[in-house]
């Protein structure tokens, strides 16, 4: 892996983002394989709607913007409807499927789901939810000051240690 980037320590969002983006690396080192189903679903829905918008734009530039042309009218109607339906699906997916999930992975057929959040922009505490297999969701928090050096670099070992400790704790509860 490349060098870690320097993070603005006064920005809770930046700290959370850095931790979130390091999750795959941390869990890979703990022998977990990431599953991309959630993110791929979003990518598919998103790319499809962008393709629809792009197609309509191309058609308009090529054949003119004449609503009296019935074919164009119904093409537009179908395209616009599909676009907003897809966007609605993306919204529902974010609300009810993705939620705060940042990582989904497997280790020997055991599914692990990790969700992260911060309370607000002024509380530098990383709230993490762990779920292994069919265990109940376990919550743990850690202050960002324990995870980052004074000059703004993530302490990868402490971070992996924090995740490992929690995963082991939760794994014992799961059947």
């Amino acid at each position: 892996m490349g060098e870690r980037k320097k993070v603005n320590l006064s920005s809770v969002v930046a700290l959370r983002t850095e931790c979130d983006e390091t999750l795959p690396q941390a869990l890979a080192s703990l022998k977990y394989t990431e599953s991309f189903t959630v993110v791929d679903t979003r990518l598919a829905l998103g790319l499809l709607s962008v393709a629809i918008a792009g197609g309509l734009y191309y058609y308009e530039k090529k054949f003119g913007d004449d609503l009296k042309d019935l074919f164009y009218y119904y093409l537009l109607l179908g395209g616009v409807t599909t676009f907003f339906v897809l966007n609605g699906l993306l919204y529902l997916h974010a609300q009810y499927v993705q939620k705060n999930t940042k990582y989904v992975g497997y280790n020997k057929d055991k599914k692990v789901v990790i969700g992260t959040s911060t309370k607000n922009a002024t509380t530098p505490v990383y709230d993490v939810e762990f779920k292994v297999g069919d265990s109940p969701v376990a919550k743990d928090s850690i202050s960002f000051s324990e995870l980052f050096t004074e000059d703004g670099y993530l302490k990868l070992d402490s971070y992996i240690g924090f995740i490992k400790k929690n995963l082991e704790k939760v794994s014992k509860k799961s059947t």
Binding site: N8, A14, L43, G46, V50, A53, L77, N87
Partner: protein
């Protein structure tokens, strides 16, 4: 940074542009007008509209009435014009039938397609729009030329677009400010 994260980020940016475009197209479908929101560019409709007013158009009525303010396009001219309808004629096309009934001298009329022809004028202009129309054109066709009828407006809000298109310094100042804000913004 993996490929999926980059794709998601690109997608988020693309989605902003696409949503704006699709919202515009949706509005066009609802109003029946290919350009449902326009900005007044000239003072020819003062005191009703000033330069920079934003107009909302509706184009789902079969006919427009005398006194309505409409936006129209002239063939081979790019800028739409906002003016008031002064006169209208409805033209009922004759059906070309070879066998016309001997008793009736009246031409047989097709019941369907009636064309409405319009003459427009700017409230603030001394004469009607005949000189503005294309060469040889003596009327506007409701169906072919009218972009929509004005249903509402917001005063002055569109002046920004006039400043951007007509004032180079304003455009560069705005671009500079945008650039500066992205540079100074924390990620």
């Amino acid at each position: 940074m993996n490929l999926r994260q980059q794709l998601i980020q690109g997608l988020n940016i693309a989605m902003v542009v696409c949503s704006a475009f699709m919202f515009w197209k949706g509005l066009a479908l609802v109003t029946g007008s290919s350009s449902p929101i326009v900005v007044v560019l000239s003072g020819s409709m003062e005191p009703a509209f000033q330069r920079g007013d934003i107009l909302f158009l509706w184009n789902r009525n079969q006919y427009v009435d005398v006194g309505d303010i409409v936006v129209y396009n002239i063939k081979e001219k790019e800028i739409p014009i906002v003016h008031r309808v002064m006169r209208e004629h409805k033209v009922i096309p004759e059906v070309k039938t070879k066998k016309r009934s001997a008793r009736s001298k009246k031409p047989v009329h097709e019941p369907g397609k009636v064309r409405q022809l319009l003459l427009t004028k700017g409230d603030n202009n001394p004469t009607d729009d005949l000189p503005l129309y294309a060469y040889g054109q003596t009327y506007l066709d409701r169906e072919d030329d009218i972009v929509g009828k004005v249903m509402g407006y917001i005063p002055k809000l569109g002046y920004v677009t006039i400043l951007i298109t007509e004032n180079v310094y304003f455009k560069y100042a705005l671009l500079g400010l945008l650039g500066l804000s992205t540079l100074l913004q924390k990620e």
